[in-house]
């Protein structure tokens, strides 16, 4: 008995056989749900099969980071750490140890404003009167790769940090496979782009403010850097960076609700840097510091930053109020 043809049907098309036409560049898009949002890889090139395979590898890397840092997944290392009793050391892998050390360095650099332990504790109990801080709550032994809790009601929450770290790792994965033009999008709030987008021009991302008091988006901006990462914290009411609004942007971002600062005023901050992780950490911490505090902090600590990030600052009533280079403090016209 046989219900199958003896030979497979001749292949209708064989993409692998021929080199694609170098002139016919296309944009491929692959996406994956991860870290409670959609991660997307857009790539520009001629070999669609290779671009898609590279994009899948980059998104695999994002999912791998999620499985390492997830707050919810019982299989993640962070979940294991967060569910370890006080005083019991656990051995963590090389990568998580580096991440925790890096968080520690950010904690020190930002004078405690960046604190994934405080964030984790507040996530467990938002009414905590005494919020545990990283150095008091978490013990680290880098040589033994061991970590332990020094107090209860403590947990690590690497939400934003994880997104930036995942984007950087996805970037590395794409570069390994020779992708020269790509835009990575982490849930519409973090972007990492390099090279060109459609029409062989730099990737163009337009930000639209849907929650503006005016009925239509009135201000938009375009990121046209060759290589940038832009995590957004708070509401963006407009980014006027490059001038003219393109008719066909690569991506149109509709912003969410704004953060509320200590004066109960909606405030927003965006940071562009060469590293998504750095931009992600800075956009969170600078917002928490407030504009004056942020400028003061940048004056003293900016040498520790990798590049010279661009910082946008705005609030609901005035729109963008400041745009400056973190290192040089040089102001850009808004």
């Amino acid at each position: 008995m046989s219900w199958l043809p003896t030979d497979p049907t001749p292949l209708a098309f064989t993409k692998s056989d021929a080199m694609p036409d170098p002139a016919s560049k296309v944009v491929t898009v692959r996406s994956r749900p991860a870290m409670a949002c959609a991660f997307e890889a857009r790539t520009l090139g001629v070999d669609v099969e290779a671009l898609e395979a590279a994009s899948e590898a980059a998104l695999d890397e994002v999912c791998r980071i999620e499985s390492l840092l997830s707050w919810f997944d019982p299989a993640s290392e962070i979940y294991r750490l967060n569910h370890t009793p006080v005083g019991v050391p656990i051995q963590v892998d090389v990568e998580l140890m580096r991440i925790l050390e890096d968080c520690w360095s950010w904690y020190v650099l930002t004078q405690g404003v960046f604190d994934p332990v405080a964030a984790g504790a507040l996530r467990l109990d938002s009414n905590l009167k005494e919020v545990p801080r990283l150095p008091d709550a978490l013990g680290l032994d880098a040589d033994q790769r061991q970590v332990w809790w020094k107090m209860s009601v403590a947990a690590v929450d690497l939400g934003g940090y994880g997104k930036g770290y995942a984007l950087d790792r996805a970037y590395e994965a794409l570069r390994v496979y020779g992708v020269t033009d790509a835009l990575l999008n982490g849930g519409g709030s973090s972007f990492l782009g390099w090279g060109n987008g459609s029409n062989d021009k730099p990737w163009q991302v337009v930000f639209e403010d849907l929650s503006s008091e005016k009925s239509e988006p009135v201000e938009s901006g375009i990121m046209k850097e060759k290589h940038w990462a832009l995590p957004l914290d708070g509401q963006l009411s407009g980014l006027s960076f490059s001038g003219t609004l393109p008719s066909m942007p690569d991506l149109l971002v509709r912003s969410g609700k704004s953060s509320i600062n200590s004066n109960n005023s909606p405030t927003y901050c965006a940071v562009a840097s060469t590293s998504a992780l750095e931009a992600e950490v800075l956009s969170t911490t600078l917002l928490a510091m407030g504009l004056d505090g942020a400028r003061d902090w940048l004056t003293h600590e900016v040498d520790c930053l990798e590049a010279d990030p661009l910082v946008w600052w705005g609030n609901r009533s005035e729109g963008w109020v400041d745009l400056f280079h973190a290192k040089t403090q040089r102001r850009e016209e808004i």
Partner: protein, 462 residues
């Protein structure tokens, strides 16, 4: 056909890879941590545990995962990593941490390092040869699924493991997943009644390709393509059945306590016609033969009036066995159903994934609510005429509300913890021993044989 790992190392495409370490941010930040002086903390006292010296061979995607898990287990010490592809070797060594030595040559690694245990995460066609060499070096072996490329190899490997009474475990991690263990316990205690069918699938919507890091016209492209995309070529791989199906057919074998009697498969390359050789669309039907239990025989011959819904007819007495049919499909052009197993019994259904298990009880005899309570003085049941049932639009309403079983930990890490415990205790009773691995390999491989030969294949090997 290439059948040996004794081959030249793969070309290192790094010259084509710019900025692999773009910014060295983590490294520099680690240095800054030292400069910023983390207050030294004393590690809380803990039990000093013996460690297993482990060599890992194959540090691609899965091998790297295993390395990372191993480095979180206090009883593991990775002493060496071997891979013939330099970027994978470097990645494996990076994850293994300080102290692990890199090798391109597997036999040299075994001789030089003399590990206690070897973890094999290479392409399928290398499993047998590498496992045999590790056994010959008196190593315990953790071999990724599927255990072997061919049934003949599986027969020989099982004989060798038994002859040596070696510690041997196959990487079927569902065997160490709390959800699946709970599910099998429920099956064994009869909560599902008689299992009559199992339906499982792993559906995805991608091309299953790994990117090749050189342009297509590069002289190394073809060699790297075969090396990195080995899953797509019959010389190295047994396709979807070995890479995905083996996990889920093992669940069927586990739930039914045996392998199948026969397999019928229809498969082809139906969508991804990109030069691959293995099927991208596989549908299998397996038949399992199980003995009728004593309690079922009693129920069937009238000596027991048990409440089993839909008890089999009395011919169960004359027929000592019954058939369970198991379907499995794996496609690569639609991910709607994802990966799951559905174990269907006369009393209930288990829907299983690695993250969640759901148990649905079967409804008893339909109670439309017509009966009146309190009329016990009459033999006949009193019904209200003309009462209409309340209908729902939800097509799944009949399923009812499930009981949930939650995951508690990473099953890959759990399987490695249990393997290492077996090594330390010199206990060959691993949670997924060579018999399990053998039955699983046979189950996966006869499905491919059926598809290639276009006929049902009797399982002569169980």
């Amino acid at each position: 056909m290439k059948r040996s790992f004794n081959q030249e190392p793969m070309p290192n495409p790094k010259p084509f890879l710019t900025q692999w370490s773009r910014r060295q941010f983590l490294a520099s930040s680690a240095a800054s941590v030292a400069a910023l002086s983390i207050p030294s903390s004393h590690v809380p006292a803990q039990e000093n545990r013996e460690q297993v010296r482990i060599a890992v061979v194959g540090s691609g995607g899965r091998g790297s995962d295993l390395i990372r898990k191993l480095t979180t287990i206090s009883t593991a010490r990775i002493v060496s990593v071997c891979d013939i592809y330099p970027p994978h070797l470097e990645r494996g060594l990076e994850f293994a941490g300080a102290g692990a030595k890199g090798f391109l040559d597997y036999e040299k690694m075994l001789k030089e390092m003399r590990p206690d245990a070897v973890v094999i995460a290479t392409p399928l066609y290398l499993h047998f040869e590498m496992a045999m060499l590790a056994l010959a070096s008196d190593c315990a072996v953790f071999c990724e699924k599927t255990m072997c490329y061919s049934i003949d190899q599986a027969v020989r490997l099982r004989e060798e493991v038994k002859r040596r009474n070696a510690i041997f475990q196959v990487g079927l991690q569902r065997r160490c997943n709390a959800i699946y263990r709970q599910a099998i316990a429920m099956v064994e205690t009869g909560m599902l009644g008689r299992i009559t069918a199992i339906k499982s699938q792993w559906h995805r919507n991608n091309n299953w390709r790994r990117p090749v890091p050189v342009p297509r016209d590069h002289p190394d492209w073809e060699r790297l393509e075969k090396h990195l995309n080995w899953r797509l070529y019959w010389d190295y791989s047994q396709g979807l059945m070995a890479e995905l199906g083996s996990h889920q057919m093992d669940v069927a074998n586990w739930a039914l306590s045996r392998g199948p009697k026969r397999a019928m498969t229809s498969a082809g390359i139906d969508y991804w016609r990109d030069g691959r050789e293995v099927f991208d669309n596989v549908f299998c039907v397996y038949e399992y033969e199980l003995p009728v239990s004593d309690s079922e025989k009693s129920a069937a011959d009238g000596s027991d009036t048990g409440s089993e819904p839909g008890s089999p007819h009395s011919d169960a007495v004359s027929s000592p066995t019954y058939t369970v049919r198991v379907t499995y499909s794996s496609i690569q052009s639609n991910a709607f159903e994802g990966a799951s197993e559905l174990i269907m019994g006369t009393r209930g259904t288990l829907l299983l994934t690695q993250q969640k298990g759901l148990f649905y009880k079967e409804d008893g005899p339909l109670d439309p609510g017509w009966s009146q309570d309190g009329r016990v003085d009459q033999d006949a049941e009193v019904v209200t005429s003309g009462k209409t049932l309340k209908m729902k639009n939800d097509p799944w309403a009949h399923r009812g509300k499930p009981y949930e079983i939650d995951s508690t930990a990473d099953d890959t890490r759990s399987e490695l913890v249990e393997f290492l415990d077996c090594v330390l205790n010199q206990d060959p009773a691993t949670p997924c021993n060579v018999d399990v691995g053998y039955e699983d390999a046979v189950t996966a491989l006869i499905a491919n044989q059926s598809a290639k030969e276009g006929k049902p294949i009797e399982n002569e090997w169980s």
